[in-house]
């Protein structure tokens, strides 16, 4: 999936009003909380067939890191 499509999908999953940018730190995304992380794990499994663990997700610092984990390849 290309980066822009991923960002749109992630924006929907996190229910963000603002568009997301790859360099945006997750710490600066108010909607990024434990429930959002749970939703991203479910998204990864459903849309990308990737069974990630919460520990892997915790290492993500920016929105771009989530793309690297889920949307590439």
């Amino acid at each position: 999936m290309d980066e822009n499509s991923f960002l749109t999908l992630l924006q929907d999953t996190l229910q963000c009003e603002e568009a997301l940018r790859p360099e945006l730190p997750l710490a600066d995304v108010p909607e990024w909380d434990s429930l959002a992380a749970m939703a991203v794990l479910a998204l990864g499994s459903r849309r990308f067939g990737r069974k990630l663990k919460l520990t892997q997700l915790r290492k993500a610092v920016t929105v771009g890191d989530l793309y690297a984990l889920l949307g590439t390849g």
């Binding site: 229910q15 009003e17 909607e31 909380d33 429930l35």
Partner: protein, 263 residues
């Protein structure tokens, strides 16, 4: 002597403003219709969903404020997966929603020996998947009014009555109640309240359909088991309006059984 404080509270009980947009599905008949009409009368903008445009228009014609009674025909069993997008489209059309009451339902009385997958799936679709997908759309931060928004699911006394013949319908409503309690916790941080009503038999087309499943003797026995008689749609609507309103701002994760003393 009238206590001024109590009097003021009573006046504010279940009051809405037109900024309170409440989506009620199953609003073309029965309990959904009664809730849509009552919320509209109490000051809310009602967005009434249902299969029949004709019946929704008839409800609108009866409403206290037809200009704030919005008719949105939709068969919830068609394109069900995209119900969250439908809720989004309603938000775009009318503004952020403050209440959701998914009332469309379907009762089926099926003893185990007649259990079949098609019937069970349809029952779970309309009684579990549809309300939860509507809730998913409603709970999207971009679609609701934020703190104070409220979801009210319509379960059934069948969820806990454990009566023969209700292994499909009762179990589906039981699943909805479990989901309600989970969502109350999931959505609590957003200050969205989630509750449910569990009515016994109410004088609605669905209630009548349920009674028709019973033979004469069983029907008489069932009717006699309601010391306060069968419910009226308005009985349920009164409690629904309260739980959807700010008067219930401290109540979440609860189910209110309304069965006229049946169980």
């Amino acid at each position: 002597m009238i206590c001024m404080r109590c009097s003021a509270q009573a006046e504010s009980l279940a009051a809405f403003t037109r900024e309170n947009r409440i989506l009620v599905t199953g609003a073309s008949s029965g309990i959904g219709r009664a809730i849509a009409l009552l919320c509209n009368r109490l000051g809310a903008t009602t967005i009434a969903g249902g299969r029949s445009r004709e019946k929704l228009e008839a409800a609108k014609a009866e409403s206290a404020a037809p200009e704030h009674f919005c008719v949105e025909p939709r068969d919830l069993l068609e394109d069900t997966e995209n119900l969250p997008l439908w809720v989004k489209s309603l938000r775009e059309k009318y503004g952020r929603l403050s209440g959701l009451a998914p009332c469309a339902g379907e009762a089926s009385v099926v003893p185990l020996r007649e259990y079949d997958l098609a019937t069970a799936r349809r029952c779970y679709d309309i009684n579990v998947h549809v309300p939860l997908l509507l809730a998913r759309g409603f709970a999207d931060r971009r679609n609701n009014a934020g703190a104070g928004a409220s979801i009210l699911f319509m379960a059934s006394a069948a969820a806990t009555a454990d009566e023969p013949g209700l292994c499909v319908y009762g179990a589906a409503k039981g699943a909805l109640l479990t989901a309600m309690r989970v969502l109350a916790k999931e959505l609590g941080p957003q200050r969205i309240r989630v509750n449910a009503l569990a009515p016994g038999i109410v004088r609605t087309p669905m209630g009548e359909a349920f009674l028709h499943f019973l033979d004469d003797e069983a029907r008489e026995k069932e009717l006699a088991a309601y010391p306060f008689g069968l419910g009226e749609p308005e009985d349920v609507a009164n409690m629904a309006a309260f739980l959807l309103s700010a008067a219930a701002k401290w109540i979440t994760g609860q189910v209110v059984v309304m069965d006229g003393g049946r169980y």
